[in-house]
């Protein structure tokens, strides 16, 4: 336990009245969190296991009377979840790879290779931070259409590279790597690419992790952009497919599909929670 002093003094907490107050607050917060954040998730997971009649029943049952797995199996088959999940995986993985390769290379060039007009280019990239991404979806859509990329995963992959936030994060990290280290490697005869691969990247593991998570989550959670560029049902990621199919499908099946759609990111979060939470807390300024 860290001993840093906070709003309430440790002395006040040590008194019997302080202790009682502390445990009252603690219990209420636990209850509040359970009700506000965990209960909706519980309701969703169990709702999908109720029979269609039971889901529509008032007052609702807290625990399913009978546990049905058919909601989940129906969702898997009727809503073609394997196709949509696979589409999402392809879109997210490609966006991640493109971002990692092209943003890293560009950030390395801007940070260490001193290109002429480097300052101007960096300024142009940072200026896009001022332009809210969503306000430009229509002209961006028209450009993607002109390039013939509609219904193509490239429509997700290439625009993902134009991510000023991640590029700047990488550049700032590379800036901290001392030039001496790189120059020494150069005298040893290492080329620029080899320096990037063997020195810069291994030293940048933490920032690469953060950028990777941001890149994956952004694609998995996005809705408006894939809604625009994938009119072909067979190419749609799960977020778009869920909304398109939600109109005419049984409630229990839809809920089951919602649970399935949430599992990958929630699982990733639970596995990497320490890194993700540390990353956000470490002054990440992303909204």
């Amino acid at each position: 336990m860290s001993s840093t002093r906070t709003l309430v003094s440790p002395a006040a907490l040590a008194r019997p009245r302080g202790k009682a107050a502390y445990w009252t607050v603690f219990t209420s917060v636990v209850l509040l969190f359970a009700l506000a954040f965990l209960f909706p998730v519980y309701w969703m997971v169990t709702g999908a296991m109720k029979s269609p009649d039971e889901v529509a029943q008032t007052p609702p049952t807290l625990v399913p009377k009978e546990w049905h797995l058919s909601g989940y199996t129906d969702a898997w088959e009727l809503m073609q979840l394997p196709t949509h999940l696979w589409n999402t995986v392809v879109q997210a993985a490609g966006a991640w790879l493109f971002q990692l390769v092209l943003c890293t290379a560009a950030a390395y060039a801007l940070s260490k290779l001193r290109p002429v007009f480097g300052k101007v280019i960096l300024g142009g990239i940072l200026a896009t931070l001022m332009v809210p991404a969503q306000a430009l979806v229509v002209p961006k859509y028209l450009t993607v259409a002109d390039l013939g990329l509609l219904n193509d995963p490239l429509a997700i992959w290439l625009p993902a590279v134009a991510n000023a936030f991640n590029l700047y994060l990488l550049k700032r990290f590379f800036d901290q790597i001392p030039r001496d280290v790189l120059e020494a490697a150069e005298i040893d005869g290492a080329g620029k690419l080899r320096i990037l691969w063997s020195i810069v990247l291994p030293m940048s593991r933490p920032v690469l992790g953060v950028v990777s998570i941001f890149a994956l989550v952004a694609v998995w959670q996005d809705f408006l952009w894939p809604l625009m560029v994938f009119s072909d049902t067979g190419k749609q990621p799960i977020s778009v497919a869920l909304v398109q199919l939600s109109q005419n499908i049984q409630l229990t099946v839809l809920i089951a599909a919602m649970v399935i759609a949430s599992i990958p990111m929630v699982a990733m979060f639970l596995i990497f929670q320490r890194h993700i939470i540390a990353g956000i807390s470490a002054g990440s300024t992303r909204g």
């Binding site: 309701w43 007052p59 229509v138 409630l251 909204g287």
Partner: protein, 318 residues
Amino acid sequence: MTRTAQRRTVEKAAVRPVQAPPPAGERGRRRLADQTRAYAFLLGGLVCFALFSWYPAIRAVVIAFQKYTPGAPAEWVGTDNFTRVFDDPEFTAAWRNTFTFTLLALLIGFAIPFVLALVLNEIRHARAFFRVVVYLPVMIPPVVSALLWKWFYDPGTGLANEVLRLVDLPTSNWSNGADTALVSLVIVATWANMGGTVLIYLAALQSVPGELYEAAELDGANLLQRIRHVTIPQTRFVILMLMLLQIIATMQVFTEPFVITGGGPENATVTVLYLIYKYAFLYNDFGGACALSVMLLVFLGIFSALYLRLTRSEGEDT
């Protein structure tokens, strides 16, 4: 390269011999080769920024003054797009709804995470648990949280009215009532997004020096006075930054109204971005959509500029 190899290169750097400068002609050639290599690394990223960031920004402004149909030659129409959009009754509704949504999101969606972070910072047990749980909804895809709450808001069998019945309160139409729809959407957005705000604010609270609280206590300041005179001034910068970020994000709200209410009832939840989407994909009016985009762009640009200025000046301080 292994770590030992890395160390070796560092040692070598220390005893690097001073090289004689190469003759002028060779230096020029070397510089050209260096620049070519630098731009080879930059190229992929630059092309993507040019195509999907810089060009669309310029194009939005150009198309805002054109009659534009994909595949057909564009015609200049002056400010026709703007006047047509202004005359649309949905235009006023969309801006009013967006402003109301942003304001409500500041009142509800900012006050709650703020108080929650203050309380969480005092809790000395199960810290990791609270942080994971509060961030869990952020990891659920926005489309899923929107559909989930649409189900909760169902007037007949939804959980929201069930809870009200349980405590003997009158039931509500939630997202289906013209008066309550917008607030219902703010609740969804708050539930889904507050995890990030809580975590960032918690981190800021941890940087407040403990001596300040001690000194304030010695001066006889009670709990609320300590919050007012120590906590808030000490975290002023983060509060302001989070507020601006939230304004920028909520002004671009789309998923919740699109999925939960479809903009209704009676246009009560049409937002500016939703209207942009409608112009482009329902009315096939790309000129109108771009005119609206430019308006949103200019408006949000002011907030973004404020945000960048704030983070920049803070960066110089530290």
